[in-house]
């Protein structure tokens, strides 16, 4: 139907205000819950990368894990289920479609990777997104970091079928992490 300009402007402003209001209310109601979820997910990831299994991840995290700053690097330290003292260090890098973030755990002598966990990735669900699957992440337990990481039978690390670019991106991020962040940590730590 035909309506005047004034009516049109008033109408669109009113509709925008009403719907923004509704969204603001919904957001306010759920904000805390979402933050708690995100924090809990972060703690689960850190514990997983360290190799600590727990029924109640948040409680276990608060009990076992301490936050530390070594040099410029902020990290988490704990003794894992195998009795090894480990650091869990945040990492980030480019995946195929977007930034991949997560935590890598290394023993305190910085000689072995003890685990890896992802907190954020936007890879293709069902293909690159499978880096979140157990079997893939478990491959990164107890890997010596003397040499650059590569896929293959020799190293025992498998890439994901149909997701070559994401698989390669993950290794590149890891190798990059070893060559920069871990070097920095080594110097700052004085070991």
């Amino acid at each position: 139907m035909k309506k005047g300009y004034i009516y049109t402007i008033v109408f669109i402003v009113a509709v925008s205000v009403v719907f923004s209001g509704v969204l603001a209310v919904v957001n306010a109601v759920y904000k805390n819950k979402i933050e708690i979820n995100e924090l809990a997910a972060e703690k689960v990831s850190i514990l997983y990368s360290m190799g600590i299994e727990a029924e109640n991840a948040v409680a276990a995290f608060d009990e076992k894990v301490t936050q530390k700053d070594i040099g410029e690097i902020s990290l988490y330290s704990a003794v894992n289920d195998d009795g090894i003292e480990v650091y869990s260090i945040p990492f980030e890098g480019s995946g195929l479609w977007g930034t991949i973030r997560g935590y890598v755990s290394v023993d305190v002598n910085l000689s072995t990777i003890t685990g890896i966990a992802f907190t954020e990735q936007n890879e293709t669900p069902g293909l690159g997104g499978r880096i979140e699957e157990e079997w893939y992440k478990e491959q990164f337990r107890g890997i010596s970091i003397d040499n650059a990481l590569v896929y293959g039978e020799d190293t025992g690390i498998d890439a994901i079928t149909g997701a070559t670019s994401t698989s390669n991106a993950v290794l590149q991020i890891m190798n990059n992490f070893i060559n920069t962040t871990l070097k920095e940590l080594e110097e700052a730590d004085g070991k």
Binding site: K2, F11, I12, V15, L23, V26, N37, G126, L127, G162
Partner: protein
């Protein structure tokens, strides 16, 4: 054609099914159909958004000035999609993670705006609500059909449960998007075939 619930149901699920008859919503149909779980959550999200945006837009239809109706449609649809996104994030954090950006992309699904333009603009709220809901169901059913075949052949699983008892070789092509092109084309082919045959029968009479 009259607009009672029965005809609306038939039209959205078969006669004018959004995916296989109108070829709408193909982008998401290609993207999320390699896993049945993802397809199901995506379908339920779309059902909710189409149903309620059709209801709202139909209730407002007498008041929306024609020249800005698309802006209003997009605004209403976006608001519902954000509500769905917030709700999933708060209550189903794991599924939210698995679907990633696809929930936000429901906004761009042509089916919702298609129903708003083609139906909710001219019909009363209650029937518009059902029209939106059935369009969502029509979309979900086809997605689940495609996802079922793709997941069985590509992963050997259904809803994540392993059914690959005889250990057949998995079809990688079913996991990647080209597999979805083949599957959707086959679905469209079958639907068009049946429909054409019916038309011919009618003409013969």
């Amino acid at each position: 054609m009259g607009n009672n619930i029965k005809t609306v149901f038939y039209r959205n699920l078969w006669g004018e099914n959004p995916v296989i008859r109108q070829i709408l919503g193909i982008c998401s149909a290609l993207a999320v159909t390699n896993r049945t779980v993802n397809s199901l959550v995506m379908g339920v999200g779309l059902m909710f958004v189409t149903a309620f945006s059709s209801l709202t837009l139909s209730a407002l239809r007498e008041h929306i000035p024609d020249r800005i109706r698309m802006i209003v449609q997009t605004l209403v649809i976006a608001a519902y999609v954000i509500i769905v996104d917030i709700f999933i994030k708060a209550n189903l954090p794991e599924i939210s993670k698995a679907l990633g950006p696809y929930v936000g992309l429901i906004i761009t699904n042509c089916i919702i705006m298609g129903r708003a333009e083609a139906f909710a603009r001219k019909n009363p709220p209650v029937i518009s609500f059902f029209d939106g809901l059935f369009a969502g169901i029509g979309y979900t059913v086809i997605l689940l059909g495609i996802a079922l075949i793709r997941e069985i052949l590509g992963f050997g699983t259904v809803f994540g449960f392993n059914i690959n008892f005889i250990d057949f070789t998995k079809w990688t092509i079913m996991v990647v998007p080209p597999g979805a092109f083949f599957m959707i084309a086959i679905f469209i082919w079958i639907a068009a075939g049946i429909q054409n045959r019916r038309l011919k029968k009618k003409e013969a009479k």
